[in-house]
Amino acid sequence: MPTVLADSLLVFERYARQTLRSRITLIFGLMQPMLFLGFFGPLLQDVPLGREGDSWQILVPGLLVQLALFSSSFAGFGILIEKQHGIVERMRVTPVSRTALLLGRTLRDVALLLVQSVILVLAGVAFGLRAPLLGVLIGFVLVAVLAASLASLSYAFAMRVNTPQEFAPVINSINLPAMLLSGILLPMALAPTWLDVISHLIPFRYLVDGVRAAFVGDYGDSALAVGALAALLLSAASLTLGTRLFRRAGA
């Protein structure tokens, strides 16, 4: 097995164990989407949303992307704490691949996200979501790729700042507009032209639309192909940038 892979698995194992020990992380990330599902979802049931699919097939994909967006973009928080304990430097002085230090953590974040996504979709089913299994699985792949991209950028950014006070405001000021502009809660089909135009500049929008197409079983829809392409481009760019910054950063 190539070193980077073997090392990533070692790193993954450590952080997966830590996550399993603190089950609170799992619950905590799910809070917000669950609240939207329970207290916002029912409002949409009889509202015309301007696109194919019933309201749950439109909302749940949005919530999945929201989950990935919020939990992965804050992934770097953990490494900030570790930096303060000197853990990151201690690892970087060993021959372990520095790329693996990033990838192993990112892998843990993706695994966590997938577990959360399954719970979220099951809860959605309880509320009335009906979607083809294949479509749901395609949706999971898309959000997993999104999560990997954002987490690696988040880690790289966290390596360049020293305190949570420098980190959190930047992430927050990107997340909220990104969420609103990508039509996570309501499809952008409802937006006036100017808003629709702006939202086309946000890569997450294509992912949301792609996951929605998958959830209604429209596998031939161009939205799905565009969503997959957006995920691919985003991950290629973020992982390249993320690993480069992470490897170079003076911890």
């Binding site: 070692l10 450590r14 830590q18 304990h85 853990i87 430097e89 201690r90 002085v93 021959p95 003076g250």
Partner: protein, 260 residues
């Protein structure tokens, strides 16, 4: 004697929001195979920054270094395989168990799982950590944590060990134990590059001293030679010598150590 480490004009300038900080301004030094080198200097002199460059954590802005036979700039991985590093503030995860920290460290040094587990046991015996293997790092005392830090750095039997203020914050008993340990590690063949603010420690442990101030080497030699040259006589205290060289005493946040 042959040098296990040598630097030429090594320098690092941090760029901060408030402008550049010249932490290290061109250091030339050599560490001989098998010696304990004491690297001294007041707070902010650039000691930790120098160590972090020599351990591949920070890229120098200028200059070159050869560490354990490899060029620092072009062969950082080879350097990492040969050196051990204990940072000023340690590097342990409070929530991890002592054993799992040691085992993972072994895995990072390319030991198989079984080898890494055996090495963890061995190190625990060597550094008197056996009773503590199943505790979390948060449950260790300062002295125990320091021993674990050092155990982790010894995992791969490094040729060169960097210790950044290894005894800061320890009680006199633990400090004495640590001195004993450092001597033993050296006697087993590891060269040691050590920073400290405790001049009695430098006097007791170091074969040779390099004193830095404001990012530059201001004096170097054996403790005896430095005392004679700067303190006025071979019987001068290292304290007086240090003040004569840097213009002030070793500033410290901690209370002064007991002079025994």
């Amino acid at each position: 004697m042959t040098a296990i480490l040598s630097t030429h004009d090594l320098a690092l300038t941090f760029s901060t929001k408030r402008g550049p900080v010249e932490a290290v301004r061109g250091i030339d030094l050599a560490v001989e195979q098998g010696e304990i080198l004491g690297f001294l200097g007041p707070n902010g002199a650039g000691k930790s920054t120098t160590l972090r460059m020599l351990t591949t954590l920070l890229a120098p802005t200028r200059g070159t270094a050869t560490v354990a036979g490899h060029d620092l700039a072009t062969q950082p991985r080879a350097v990492r395989r040969k050196i051990g590093y204990v940072a000023q503030s340690g590097g342990l995860d409070p929530q991890e168990r002592v054993r799992s920290e040691l085992v993972l460290q072994g895995r990072f040094y390319r030991l198989s799982r079984a080898e890494a587990e055996a090495r963890a046991e061995e190190l625990a015996v060597d550094l008197d950590l056996t009773e503590l293997l199943d505790r979390t790092c948060a449950e260790l005392s300062g002295g125990q944590r320091r021993r674990l830090d050092i155990a982790m750095a010894l995992t791969h039997r490094p040729a060169l060990l960097f210790l950044d203020e290894p005894t800061t914050g320890l009680d006199p008993g633990s400090r004495a134990d640590l001195w004993e340990l450092v001597r033993r590690i050296r006697d087993e063949g590891t060269t040691i590059f050590l920073t400290t603010h405790y001049l009695d420690e430098a006097d007791a442990l170091a074969d040779r001293l390099v004193i830095v101030d404001h990012g530059e080497v201001v004096a170097e030699g054996t403790p005896a030679a430095l005392k004679e040259r700067y303190g006025g006589s071979p019987e001068a205290t290292l304290q007086d010598t240090f003040i004569a060289i840097t213009g002030h005493g070793p500033r410290r946040e901690e209370p002064a150590p007991l002079t025994v």
